[in-house]
Symmetry: C2
Subunit: 331 residues, 2 copies
């Protein structure tokens, strides 16, 4: 089964999620639906809703009683994700996202911050309405982690000797916490035992870390057309990610000096970027990062090995295909 097959299998629910999202960003303040629909029509993988849907079904959640809680929470996690993206773009001063002008480039930082806050508030309303104490605890912890992870990333900007541990803790908070929460929510909706909830939370944490590792890798190895933003953007913004951490750690003193000089340049030239990527390849930093991502995917799969059963094999395989997709994707 491929990631595309997973999408096809969940297509009906994904369509309901899209409708539910549209309904819930409606506001009489016209700029809110305008920006929200720009955001939602701009693409995105809907990875987080997909994980809520698959894990809930894997855990036996049935929507036949019409409650549609899996749709509600898919919308909640997508709103939280969208809010963090809007705020991220202000933090990173990004002009482009997914190949389109970013919201802050088109409508300004002010609109990005405030529509982000609006989407946060909508996600709370929806959570509060469903009022599941366990899910609320998981989600408020996840939002807290995202903010902490982003701030940690800010503090460590331009710090070439950031350790791998500090980096892993940062991406665990800023990316894996919400992805992990999605899997935990699906499990709770399905009403499975605590050890199964924990297994899926662990699965989510591991694929979440792998997801960010691959993101950070693609920033150097992909191309602008596929990526939808300039290559080497992290280097330009001073974000020190694993490919650079590994390179700097392994480099001799001469190369270390060279890297520091590049990092401190007022503007990083195309040649400097090419040089860094060349060094990353020479020092095995690309392979190392990819291998770490594969390790986390392997851990993720092991976390849920005990959840395999013949009655839900289809959803189990779908979840595995999402895990595989995370390391195979090109953008």
């Amino acid at each position: 089964m491929s990631f595309k097959d997973a999408i096809t299998l969940l297509q009906d629910d994904l369509t309901k999620v899209e409708e539910y999202i549209k309904k819930n960003y409606n506001s009489d303040v016209a700029l809110i639906p305008t920006i929200s629909s720009y955001l939602y029509n701009g693409g995105g993988k809907r990875l987080r809703p997909l994980l809520v849907l698959i894990t809930s079904k894997l855990c036996g959640y049935s929507s036949h009683n019409g409650s549609g809680r899996h749709i509600t929470y898919s919308c909640v996690v997508e709103f939280i994700h969208a809010a963090t993206l809007l705020h991220d773009d202000v933090v990173d001063e990004s002009d482009i996202r997914r190949g389109n002008p970013s919201v802050n480039a088109k409508w300004g930082n002010d609109a990005s911050v405030l529509v982000g806050d609006y989407l946060f508030s909508r996600s709370f309303s929806l959570m509060a309405e469903d009022n599941d104490k366990r899910i609320m605890a998981i989600l408020s912890d996840a939002i807290k982690s995202v903010a902490e992870g982003e701030i940690k990333q800010l503090i460590n900007k331009y710090t070439l000797d950031t350790t791998e541990d500090v980096y892993l803790d940062t991406i665990n908070r800023k990316t894996a916490a919400l992805i992990s929460a999605c899997c935990g929510i699906g499990a709770i909706l399905g009403g499975v035992t605590n050890d199964k909830v924990d297994a899926l939370i662990s699965f989510g944490k591991n694929i979440g870390i792998a997801f960010q590792l691959v993101d950070d890798l693609l920033d150097y190895t992909s191309n602008e057309m596929v990526l939808g933003k300039p290559v080497g953007n992290d280097l330009v913004e001073g974000k020190v990610t694993l490919p650079l951490i590994h390179l700097y750690r392994e480099a001799n003193e001469g190369r270390k000096d060279e890297l520091r000089e590049i990092m401190n340049s007022p503007e990083i030239s195309r040649e400097q970027l090419k040089r860094v990527i060349y060094l990353m390849k020479s020092y095995g930093a690309i392979d190392y990062t990819m291998q770490r991502a594969r390790d986390y995917i392997e851990n993720a799969k092991q976390s849920i090995a005990s959840l395999k059963s013949s009655s839900t094999e289809q959803y189990f395989n779908t979840l595995i295909s999402v895990a595989d997709y995370i390391v195979e994707r090109k953008s």
Copy 2:
């Protein structure tokens, strides 16, 4: 009874609120407590916690059982308020708040956005932990209203013919919604009947609107030393508030042209600001705005007239003193 007496009466609880706030912005990500403590040591009237405390006591909430929910929610509303201030400063590009450099001026927009998100997330955690469905609904609605109000303000920037109705709806959302929620929370904690909850929500809405009216007035009539930020800041930022709306509405065509020219100046000079304030006084815009604020305070008092009883007279009078303070204050 004066506002100062109100503070004295609630001092023990206010101290507990300060301690609880400090405890809850603690994080192993060092920048978070640094910025949060800078923010909390920078002053502020603690109006929102004060309203939670007074209304809860007026409604018979007793903290003797040790649950301290009034302290928890005082912290929640103050975190929400602080988060919106941090995001506001990014939106308004403010360099100064309460006489001190703003967080964005000192640590950057990125830190302001992210620490704001962190404080939002902490407020949700605390709400989710207490898990009162009615209070969560009130608070998530309030946060939504604040974002909508701020966006509405953004849309109507530099629009001199903004109507009074649009302005009132904007400040109702951006300011009165949260102040109103504080009073509603106190009532719910006290376990009073729905009509008393509604009465206090209405009280909060009315004093909230009056609060913003006076804020918008002080922006023109106070001085920089007292205000802690430059006078006429709203005019410079293109925020069209009631003193300006009234002036523009009442002005003849010649003055309307003059006001449009001033509003569209690339930079507003000291002379232009003086001229606008002179015109506001001549056209009665200052008096008109103050009278509207007084009307709302009168409405507020009428909303809660039926809540007066001999057993809680002290807290009733305290609440009235807060309402009076709102129109009497000089900063």
